[in-house]
């Protein structure tokens, strides 16, 4: 089969699985998982084969030929989703106007055309593989985890639906299509968080997740409109117009190769910040992170797949995909790092005092996603590839940890409060061992996966904070990332037409393209140290959870009943597979450089501003040492506090005093939202409803009473007295005669 067919099959097979599950429904009985798992498994096979094929094309593992840096992509268009002919004439001065400029100086009207187009490139292929493979393991695990649930087939239908939506999200080659599946994964997430809808907390958490995501979607929608206005299309890829000329897509190769192809300045920065807002919603970054901890009300396998391994990384994907847009806006790019690093630190601090095992992992996910954003924000080749590298390793070890937590929860009869159990390593050795491997990977201990990816992220930040030191450190070409990123921004300055920028001058988002406000070494140095502190905190809260759950005297809550034993093989085998991946994937991907080489062939990462920052792969010994020291310190403190002790003993917040209260209450951000946004808005709504009822409708009823009142008054005239009628008649005749007389005169 052609790669195009295979690419379509990846999302299609899980979709068929979902539809079959719904269609067959209860007739499947205890085999309700079969269509979904078959669909996802087949999709995983196809995705892996696509990955291998694409790897060969890029030149991975081919000793004879050095990998080429040329962009590799394949587009397949299925049908035109919506279209309006001759809809749009690009604003003067926008790149779109340049694309359609005719010889006589006028611009052509462009069509608003949205094709359902899928793409395959290294970035998409990597993510498709992760989504389908982790999805498959989670689905298999769910056979055991969900086995007695009355909603068994519904769960698998939703899981397959999610794999379909997520695959489409990363394979879409059009901003509108991205938006479509951006919301579709949100809907799957909504339905899975609210899976146990009879629990009011679950129903509330589902709604909260959807609404907070909608705030992010607002950013994506407005960004999409701005992109359309600026670039005249929403396609990522280049298209051929009817007369054979190339219409450059927003992220198409011809625009990427064009040094002046992207708009910086106020409009560019606004687009990037709106995209960042969208990413913050989906990837649970400050200030839109509040939905993810609550989302833990959903079934644990859904948390593992959607709220840890895949969906929440959509924001990372979006920023990486839009790399060419970001690199011409240094301040927006720095903002990505600032948001990411701050989120990483704040979430880690909150994570240190959580007693609910799943919530520890939820805050850890927010924190690790923050790392990825920090890395993306550097705007360097190292930063982009490190973020995706961490995305991959994180998918393995975080899915592992969540499934491990699920295994604990399963055997503890649904109890997930770490203070209520302890010493479980004797009871469930496989879960304990695999959980430990996942924790080592998360804490960044060599040689587990997280160590390598985190090391690259720290290196990317370090190279921005100390550009000179970093250059010497590697003995590489003097191409300092800092200067190289700025250059195209300056280039694009004149390209930004006043006509399109004027809208945003008055807004705070405006930032002059040639004088970055945020992008300074001092900023990056701060961000680097914050990341290092976060690394220590990560190790602390991870091992606090490990020690509380698995060491100390064996204690089991009453709810556990006869469940208190190791989970069945259908659950532990996925754990073991993920543990192996968490143990070796980092080392393997780092040592062979296969992932970074592969990703470098993604069209978005071949933007000159990105390739100029490419450095040969290297191991950053001093950074690794700092990272490892931070991790060791964190683990040591956790060990002092919790190793071998009863988990219901003194808790950390007792030592932290009021700061502990602050952490335990999640910095009061939820309360702040409630007080500043939700309540005022509900107040306004009440006022509006009262206004509607009493003022507007009151006026209407008042107007309606006018004829009645007139009638009531007129009724007095109809008194039935003939004399009065006669009088009125005489007066009327008199009036007419007077009027006629006036006329005649």
């Amino acid at each position: 089969m052609s790669p195009a067919t295979l690419l379509v099959l990846v999302p299609l097979l899980p979709l068929v699985g979902a539809i079959l599950t719904v269609a067959l429904g209860r007739r499947l009985g205890s085999r309700g998982h079969l269509p979904a798992i078959a669909g996802i498994a087949a999709a995983a096979v196809v995705a892996v084969s696509l990955l291998l094929g694409l790897g060969r094309e890029v030149g991975i593992g081919d000793a004879a030929h050095a990998p080429t840096a040329r962009p590799v992509e394949m587009i397949t268009t299925l049908w035109e989703w919506a279209g309006v002919d001759a809809a749009y004439s690009p604003p003067a001065g926008s790149p779109a106007a340049a694309d359609t400029a005719r010889a006589d100086g006028a611009t052509d009207l462009r069509s608003f055309s949205i094709p359902v187009a899928l793409r395959l490139d290294p970035l998409t292929s990597t993510l498709l593989t992760i989504i389908t493979c982790v999805g498959l393991l989670v689905a298999i695990y769910s056979i055991g985890y969900m086995h007695d649930d009355p909603g068994y087939p519904r769960f698998f239908a939703l899981l397959a639906m999610f794999v379909f939506s997520m695959s489409m999200l990363v394979a879409a080659s059009n901003f509108l299509l991205v938006y479509v599946f951006w919301e579709a994964v949100g809907a799957c997430s909504y339905l899975l968080i609210g899976f146990w809808f009879t629990k009011p907390e679950a129903a509330r958490a589902a709604k909260k997740a959807f609404l907070v995501n909608r705030v992010g979607d607002f950013g994506l929608a407005v960004a999409t409109f701005l992109l359309w206005m600026t670039y005249g299309t929403l396609n990522f890829h280049d298209t051929l117009s009817a007369d054979g000329t190339i219409l450059p897509g927003i992220l198409g190769q011809s625009r990427i190769a064009d040094a002046a192809g992207y708009v910086g300045g106020a409009v560019g920065t606004a687009i990037c910040l709106l995209l960042l807002l969208a990413a913050c919603g989906k990837s649970a970054q400050l200030p839109l992170h509040v939905w993810l901890p609550d989302a833990m009300e959903g079934p644990t396998p859904a948390s593992a797949l959607i709220h840890a391994a895949t969906m929440v990384t959509a924001g990372i994907y979006l920023v990486a995909r839009c790399a060419p847009l970001f690199v011409v806006c240094p301040d927006a790019l720095t903002m990505v790092s600032i948001v990411g690093t701050t989120t990483a630190l704040v979430a880690a601090l909150i994570g240190t005092v959580q007693n609910d095992l799943k919530r520890v992992l939820a805050y850890s996910t927010i924190s690790q996603l923050g790392y990825m954003f920090a890395s993306l924000g550097t705007g360097t080749m190292l930063g982009f590839t490190a973020a995706i590298f961490h995305l991959v390793t994180h998918a393995f070890f975080k899915a592992l940890l969540f499934l491990g937590a699920g295994s604990v929860m399963h055997s503890m009869g649904g109890v997930i409060d770490m203070r209520r159990f302890g010493g479980l390593r004797r009871l469930m050795p496989i879960t304990a061992a695999t959980f430990l491997i996942g924790s080592l990977a998360l804490a960044g201990v060599a040689p587990f996966a997280g160590f390598f990816s985190k090391d690259e992220i720290l290196a990317a930040l370090h190279s921005k904070g100390w550009p000179d030191a970093h250059g010497e450190h590697h003995d590489t070409a003097p191409a300092s990332g800092h200067a190289a990123v700025r250059l195209p921004a300056a280039d694009s300055g004149p390209n930004t037409a006043p006509a399109s920028t004027m809208h945003f001058v008055s807004m705070k988002t405006a930032a002059a393209a040639d004088a970055p406000v945020l992008d300074r070494p001092r900023t990056w140095q701060t961000l680097f140290w914050m990341s290092l502190i976060t690394a220590g905190l990560t190790a602390f809260y991870t091992f606090r959870a490990v020690f509380m759950t698995f060491t100390g005297p064996l204690r089991v809550p009453d709810e556990a009943g006869h469940h208190a034993h190791e989970s069945p093989p259908v659950m532990t085998i996925p754990l073991v597979i993920l543990a192996v991946a968490s143990a070796v994937s980092g080392w393997w991907l780092f040592a062979t450089h296969s992932l970074s080489t592969f990703l470098a062939a993604t069209p978005s990462l071949t933007a000159p501003a990105v390739t100029a920052t490419a450095t040969p792969p290297a191991f950053h010994f001093d950074l690794a040492l700092q990272g490892t020291l931070a991790a060791a310190l964190g683990i040591a403190i956790a060990a002092v506090g919790h190793l071998g002790r009863r988990s219901d003993g003194p808790q950390i917040e007792r030592f932290l005093g009021p700061i502990g209260t602050l952490f335990a209450n999640r910095f009061f951000i939820d309360q702040l939202y409630k007080a500043l946004i939700v309540k005022p808005l509900e107040g306004v709504a009440l006022v509006a409803a009262a206004f509607d009822r009493y003022v507007i409708d009151g006026l209407v009823d008042g107007v309606a009473r006018i004829p009645l009142a007139l009638g009531a008054w007129a009724r007095h005239l109809q008194s039935g007295l003939v004399q009065r009628y006669a009088l009125v008649g005489v007066l009327g005749t008199l009036l007419i005669m007077l009027a006629l007389a006036a006329r005649l005169r």
Binding site: W81, A87, F112, Y179, E183, F197, T198, A203, A206, L681
Partner: protein, 558 residues
């Protein structure tokens, strides 16, 4: 198959419900089962005939290019200065609304299946007369028939609300009737002015809409102090009726009352079709015939649309009655359509036209479902409901589907229209207005996007409270004998309820997946209807631009 000419076919579709109404009336002494069965048969036959006509329309190249299809003309008073013909026909503007009217009649009949037991013959006769009137109003190609059918939609609904409605049905019926009638009398005066203007310039009294449009183009009404601002006055007269019908805030207060009191079948037709006649009127009369006045009013109506979006959403947020909440969501959604229409860009107007259908499907579905919930639990109070999902899973699935459609979830129909309206409005704000308008327009466009967040809020909040959570026991019905006892009662969809909902669900998905199929047939007609106003708007903006700064050309027909 070609034996049936398109004209005959069209007449047959409009006549079918009338014939069915007579048949249902003849069956009145046979009892409920016979009456409703004959009504259902009529609705199905009409839908099949209408669907077949739509297929013929779509396969006719001339019709797809914007020509009227199935034209029927009855000379009525021809000779001398009179050229009065009654004429019917379909074009891109009307084809989907025509089809929707036939589709929703199925829903209206089948949701009434068990709900209407009192005087069923009268109910179904009125419902079928209403269907004929709805079909007729969209097929009318002359002012007389348009107005007659337009008024004829009011009368059956007045009785449907007033007789088969809920507690405050009389008040609601009177308010609905007087309010709409007051508006439409002004509309009638406006139409009369257009006819007289045409007669005074061409020397022919004609009521033909196409002829009037051409005449208004050749002899535009004056739009200055010297001409008494005649065009603006006529525009405002037309606006009075259309704005009440849509409804545009602040003329909306009849709507929640009418919906809450109306029987479910009436709500379905009211929300699904009748509200759209206002927008259809703008597209058919105001925009093509009075372009300069439309261009002058466009920023104001655009703004009122945005106000409606936010205001309707906020008021919906605090409603305690599920049906009232959905009624206010209609106010909010119609705000999007008004906004899109008066953005006057091709993307927005085509999106607005598609959104007419989308809103018709989703709101009709939601009203139908609320009716089903009321039949089961005898309350629409959100606080007394709860946990419906565990008792009626399929009902919940449909409610979620229409909710997702209503809040614009991609992949379903509502998203397409909403996105195109917002994209087109954004285009207008970004590069289609004079600098002095720019900030206000941009602010309005962004505010409208905020409405998307609010829309999700009130709908999902209602879903959370009514459908999720532990199953609750609302006040029980006394006479529903066969219904069991206790919390675990299953009370899922009955077959006729499924028949009422399934066709809507099919189109919710179909339009969502391949909207181009539904956009293409309407595009030429929409473009032709809005072109004059868009040009007039661009001219106004050019005049308002201080320097020789270039303003983007508005799109023109190729």
């Amino acid at each position: 198959m070609n034996a049936l000419s398109p004209s005959t076919h069209l007449l047959l579709v409009i006549a079918a419900p009338l014939i069915g109404a007579i048949v249902a009336w003849l069956f009145r002494s046979w009892g409920l089962a016979a009456v409703r069965q004959s009504a259902a048969n009529t609705a199905i036959v009409t839908l099949v005939l209408a669907g077949w006509l739509v297929v013929r329309f779509l396969s006719d190249p001339a019709a797809m290019a914007g020509e009227p299809y199935g034209l029927v003309e009855f000379p009525w008073l021809v000779g001398g200065i009179f050229d009065v013909k009654l004429s019917l026909g379909l074009d891109g503007l009307s084809i989907w609304m025509f089809a929707l009217s036939a589709l929703l009649s199925i829903t209206a009949v089948f949701v009434s299946w068990d709900a209407i037991r009192d005087r069923p013959a009268g109910f179904y006769v009125l419902l079928l007369v209403l269907e004929a009137a709805m079909l007729g109003v969209f097929a009318a190609r002359d002012v007389i028939l348009f107005y007659v059918f337009f008024e004829f939609t009011l009368v059956p609904l007045f009785f449907l609300i007033g007789i088969w409605g809920h507690d405050e049905r009389r008040k609601a019926a009177v308010k609905f009737f007087i309010y709409t009638l007051a508006g439409s009398v002004l509309t009638f005066l406006g139409l009369l002015a257009i006819i007289l203007w045409n007669a005074s310039h061409t020397g022919t009294v004609t009521f033909d809409i196409a002829a009037l449009t051409a005449a208004m183009k050749a002899h535009p009404m004056p739009m200055d102090a010297g001409g008494g601002w005649l065009q603006l006055i006529v525009f405002l007269a037309l606006l009075a009726g259309f704005a009440v019908k849509v409804p545009i805030v602040p003329l909306h207060t009849w709507l929640p009352l009418a919906h809450v009191e109306a029987p479910t079948g009436g709500s379905v037709d009211l929300a699904g079709v009748l509200l759209k006649i206002g927008i259809y009127g703008f597209l058919r009369f105001s925009l093509p015939m009075l372009p300069e006045a439309s261009a002058l009013a466009a920023p104001w109506l655009f703004g009122l649309g945005v106000v409606g979006i936010i205001y309707g959403a906020l008021v919906a947020l605090v409603q305690t009655d599920l049906k009232r909440l959905i009624a206010y969501s209609s106010v909010s959604h119609m705000g999007y359509i008004v906004m899109g229409l008066f953005a006057l860009t091709p993307v927005a107007t085509e999106g607005a036209n598609l959104q007419l259908i989308n809103h018709g499907l989703s709101s009709a579905g939601l009203f139908a479902l609320v009716g089903m919930i009321y039949e089961r639990f005898h309350t629409r109070n959100i606080a007394s409901l709860g946990g419906i999902a565990s008792r009626a899973p399929w009902l919940t699935v449909f409610f979620m589907l229409f909710t997702f459609s209503s809040i614009g979830l991609p992949g379903l129909n509502g998203f397409v229209g909403e996105f195109m309206i917002l994209a087109g409005s954004f285009q207008r704000a970004w590069s289609g207005v004079a600098p002095s308008f720019s900030f206000a327009y941009l602010l309005m466009a962004v505010t409208a996007v905020v409405g998307v967040v609010l829309g999700a809020w009130y709908m999902l909040w209602a879903v959370e409270r009514a459908f999720f959570g532990p199953s609750r026991e609302p006040p029980r019905s006394g006479h529903d004998g066969h219904d069991g006892h206790g919390h675990a009662d299953r009370c899922d969809l009955k077959w006729h309820e499924l028949v009422a909902l399934a066709p809507l669900a099919v189109f919710v998905l179909w339009i969502g997946l391949t909207p181009a199929t539904f956009l293409r047939p309407a595009a030429p007609a929409i473009r032709a209807a809005t072109q004059a106003s868009a040009d007039a708007f661009a001219a106004r903006m050019r005049d308002a631009t201080p320097t020789a700064q270039p303003i983007a050309r508005t799109a023109q027909l190729p």
